[in-house]
């Protein structure tokens, strides 16, 4: 029988996400997918499964979930207060969610997008090759209280594993490469751009993140006369009022505002996760530097399973010792879920 996950109480902005829907750019549909791809890889490492499986993306706050059979879960991305039947559980870790138990996930304490991963993945029917909701294109819908989903077969058994937290939730320096229209901005304007401290505007979503700053707006030469041109995730477009807008996975496929540069892929989760008001600065790197940075990042993603450690619990605080798998989650070098993903 198929296991079913039910949303008892949905937060305001939950969607199903995976790595997105490639192949439709020419038809006007961007790839979309999880706002924080690193979190998807972390969830896959924690559960020892493919990063192609779909998870629930939770913007700002989570909800209450239950399943009709024992399932494994992992929680990644923005830290949110979470408990199972009232007992607090650790973020960035995998856990057993017993049949009928209630998993409650509250508001984010760091970051913006949290992820609930399920052993076996959310197994809704793919649409155009993916399960990811793409709300701006009308694909999928925000999840509601009472929704339930089939869960795929779970081949893993380990729970009680954790990954170290990284710093992508705290804003900071975001690296940028020059792009198609960078030379439409004068050297002075580009210098002012990299010298400016920005704060993430509250107006941010899966399509784009607006950056606030004090002082004059930024302007390209011949600014508004640029022909509509292809957009890639991370493009920083300068809108009519001079504010930079970092375009995310669910943007339009083309746009007519000039772009001062493109955030490199590994720093895009840093933009996505920065809560409103978080300080961000941009730094240009050369294409060669960007390639080195990205190569290293891909190596780190592949090495995630090697970063797993067992959650340490104080037996005195555990009500029912037997319900925990105290030794488990052994991973081997031959069982790396990312091996095929080169």
């Amino acid at each position: 029988m198929t296991t079913t996950l039910t949303i008892v109480q949905a937060g305001p902005a939950l969607t199903i996400q995976d790595r997105g829907r490639a192949g439709w750019l020419a038809q006007g549909l961007t790839k979309g997918g999880a706002a924080d791809l690193v979190a998807l890889y972390e969830g896959a490492a924690l559960l020892g499964q493919s990063p192609d499986l779909a998870a629930i993306e939770m913007t700002g706050t989570g909800g209450t979930f239950t399943a009709d059979a024992d399932i494994r879960i992992a929680l990644t991305g923005a830290s949110m207060a979470a408990n199972i039947d009232g007992e607090a559980i650790v973020w960035n870790a995998s856990h057993l969610l017993p049949a009928g138990a209630r998993l409650t996930i509250g508001g984010a304490t760091t970051g913006t997008y949290g992820y609930l991963h399920i052993g076996g993945g959310i197994a809704t029917e793919p649409l155009l090759g993916a399960r990811a909701s793409h709300l701006s294109a009308g694909l999928g819908a925000a999840l509601k209280s009472g929704d339930s989903f089939p869960i795929g077969p779970d081949k893993g058994r380990a729970t009680g594993m954790q990954l170290p937290r990284d710093t992508r939730f705290d804003g900071g320096v975001v690296r940028v490469v020059a792009s198609m229209q960078t030379d439409r901005f004068t050297a002075e304007e580009r210098d002012r751009f990299t010298a400016t401290q920005f704060a993430r505007d509250p107006r941010a979503n899966r399509m784009g993140v607006r950056m606030d700053h004090d002082g004059a707006g930024f302007h390209a030469e011949g600014g508004l006369t640029i022909l509509s041109e292809v957009i890639v995730p991370g493009d920083i477009q300068i809108t009519g009022d001079g504010a930079p807008f970092v375009l995310m996975g669910e943007s339009q496929t083309t746009g007519g505002y000039p772009r001062i540069g493109t955030v490199i892929p590994r720093d895009l989760p840093r933009v996505a996760q920065a809560p409103a008001g978080t300080k961000i600065t941009f730094e240009f790197v050369t294409l060669e530097q960007a390639i080195l940075l990205e190569t290293q990042h891909r190596r780190d993603i592949k090495a995630l399973p090697g970063q797993l450690t067992a959650l340490i619990r104080d037996p005195a605080t555990i009500k029912n010792l037997l319900s925990y798998q105290l030794v488990g989650g052994m991973t081997s070098a031959t069982d790396n879920p990312f091996e095929k993903d080169t």
């Binding site: 750019l25 792009s179 022909l227 890639v232 339009q252 083309t254 294409l287």
Partner: protein, 245 residues
Amino acid sequence: MNQFPKIQTVGLNGILISFADTMSEPANRAALSFRAAIDAADWPEVSETSTSLVSTFLQVDLVTQPLDAMLTRLHDLLDTQDWYTAPLPSGRTLWHIPTVYGTDLAPQLEEAAGLAGLDPDAAISQLSQARVRVLTIGFAPGQPYMGELPENWDIPRQQALTKSVPAGALIVAIRQLIIFTNASPTGWRHIGQTAFKTFRPHSDSPFSLSPGDELCFPSVSRSAFDTIVATDTSGAGGAETEVLS
């Protein structure tokens, strides 16, 4: 020195070949033809291709694919012919999409006709005989930008946005037409209404149109249109097609 075609990297995601910096029929033709040539070459490094009005985009993982080698091959391919006069790709589709012009369904026909220097009947006659090409698809899934109309249709966008025009609306500005995928605000003028769905996500062919397809919008009566709306279950809106060789 002519700076076009111009080759640029786009983030770490790919390579853009631009054929002009303003819209023109030859530059759009070049973008479509060059994309078809890239698709036919089937280079393993290229995971996806697309076109905007006057450029071709190749999605290439620049982290793993050496750029210099790609650039050499692109220059070699560009040098094989004059892309601005290249024949358009074969196998494109010609669409005839029944359209109601004016009426309460498309209330800006008269205003647009006036800007184009025509009375409404002459405007309907000109528009329903025009044959336009899908110049590019964007803004919303499957949503075509089509052109170019005769020069008298080089009319500006409105200063103020229309709050919402419905899906299937035929709208006009700057010698181009758009069929809207979804209800949306717009600065273009709403001159016709179709029952044609440009994006049908649950169908076997979810995107009706491809860049380079050609379209005509024959005028039909309100009652014929109502019949189409009442009986069409496919989303084609009564459209007829033929393959262009």
